[in-house]
Symmetry: C2
Subunit: 312 residues, 2 copies
């Protein structure tokens, strides 16, 4: 069975977009529960300024209190050198750096041109000095909600620049759900061809319903790592009411039934997914938490059973 | 560009599962609007007994009042000989007959064994006598929520029996959202191999989030006809809160951006999709009605524009 690896992003990418603060105790309990499900990586939190993202203002405390399990990497988002120092103190297993491949998107999200982001992240990579593995998440790689098309060559150019700095992994992000399966297949083939030695992760949103179709297209093209959020949290500010990240439990369930080895225990994961609406205080987009696994059969009603006996 | 054909099922499969009656005027107006969007087929209503499905008790009136457009086939669900007589009077362009490939599902839904359903539908086909094209929709072809697995051979066996009776088309239905892309690929190849001369349609539900991934798998295997419902209506009684049929506008949008020719004018269809929550009185699962097309760009905020000028 082919192995597929999942990075659970609910407590970072998911919670970051929530309107109400999730208490630190609840975050720690959730991460500890997720640690027992078989994820290869969990993006715990972000060392951004508490003013910029108040939802994640408890980053140090969360990192200090979670129980780390061997075999799971606990990664954190590191926006700059100040964040890197905090991540270092918290002994994060990996630093995840972020910038956008679209100038307007980078200016909009990070308030600086891409070149300035690149320089700032280069400093962070130098600070890591090979002691902490670096992953770079490139945003808006399948299109920018303001600029429109972002060419594959532009994405590969930025990827190449980070590879030259010695990063371990690259996450190619469809930040606002603009990717479609043909485009994903092309991008995945190109990434595999150029960066075969790297940890290549794809990050999809289900904003336009294509999330799981994109996962299949990527897997078919040889990609074996995905970001996903429990419950499908992480909606985009450009699309109120639309879905967020692809839903971890839905993506894992699909790949499981298709015969891939995700390493994840869905029977453990499902009750955690089902607790999420209580944690965030609203319904979430995930489907199998509502519908059950395809193997969850329903009892045959007594009246039908009678008919079955007659027809046998 | 490869052509993909859509059959819009919102007013039959969609409304049939709604709790509140949609007024006849609204149904007629909706179908007339849909007729102008480029669908190859619209499943207008069902000639079931008004007692069994009160939502569609206005079948004759709806069929009598819609404006039929050349190039669009107006099909109806015909459950039995009595329904066929009504469909004949209403001059339906096609009769869609339904039975399940799972005994428990057939008993549960139609209250009779599959053999009895087959005989009843055979009578209907004889009544059509080659004057009205017949489509047979086989339910639960990718799994039964009570029996579990339904083998591909079982599906093909029932399909074969109807083909022997001279039907024009077959719709292979994933009635409760249990299909996954690998299974769909296998089934699609088998169907194409055995029934190449037939109109082959696939009918997916998005109950477990795999709907559009299944469409791509089917298209990749040479299938070019799909059922879909505006807004993704048609939830399953076994999965409260879960999605229904695949969403027409989301499926069409995906295939459009992938470069297929769906023949459908999304710019016309989208406002109709956006009117659906008002018609049914609740939110619907469709995504692009909320998120917009991937080509719907957002204006660059003034502050970002300033930064863009500086960075240029």
């Amino acid at each position: 069975m082919q192995r597929i690896y999942f990075n659970e992003v609910v407590t970072r990418d998911g919670f970051q977009n929530e309107p109400a603060f999730v208490p630190t105790d609840v975050k720690v309990e959730l991460i500890d529960a997720l640690s027992n499900c078989g994820y290869s990586k969990i993006e715990v939190t972000s060392f951004t300024s508490a003013k910029a993202i108040p939802m994640l203002r408890d980053a140090e405390e969360v990192m200090g209190r979670i129980r780390r399990i061997p075999g799971v990497e606990y990664t954190v988002l590191v926006p700059n050198v100040r964040g890197a120092e905090r991540a270092l103190e918290s002994h994060a297993d990996e630093w995840n750096l972020v910038m956008s491949t679209s100038e307007a998107h980078n200016l909009s999200n990070l308030r600086m041109p891409r070149e300035k982001s690149f320089s700032a992240l280069k400093e962070v990579i130098e600070l890591a000095d090979g002691h902490v593995p670096i992953n770079v998440s490139l945003s808006a790689c399948f299109g920018c909600p303001m600029e429109g098309e972002v060419s594959q060559e532009e994405v590969l150019r930025w990827a190449e620049r980070f590879v030259d700095l010695g990063v371990r992994g690259l996450t190619i992000c469809d930040t606002t759900g603009m990717a479609h399966p043909s485009q994903v297949a092309r991008m995945s083939h190109a990434l595999r061809e150029r960066f075969e030695q790297l940890q290549l992760t794809l990050h999809f949103h289900n904003t336009r319903g294509m999330g799981l179709a994109n996962v299949v297209a990527a897997v078919d093209a040889g990609i074996d790592r995905f970001d996903a959020s429990l419950g499908g949290l992480g909606g985009c500010p450009y699309a109120p009411g639309a879905s967020g990240n692809i839903t971890s439990e839905d993506a894992i369930h699909m790949l499981d039934v298709m015969g891939y080895d995700t390493g994840i225990d869905l029977i453990r994961l499902l009750p955690i997914a089902r607790s999420l609406p209580d944690i965030v205080g609203h319904d979430v987009p995930g489907q199998i938490a509502k519908a059950g696994l395809i193997t969850d059969l329903h009892p045959i009603p007594a009246s039908v059973n009678e008919l079955l006996k007659e027809s046998a």
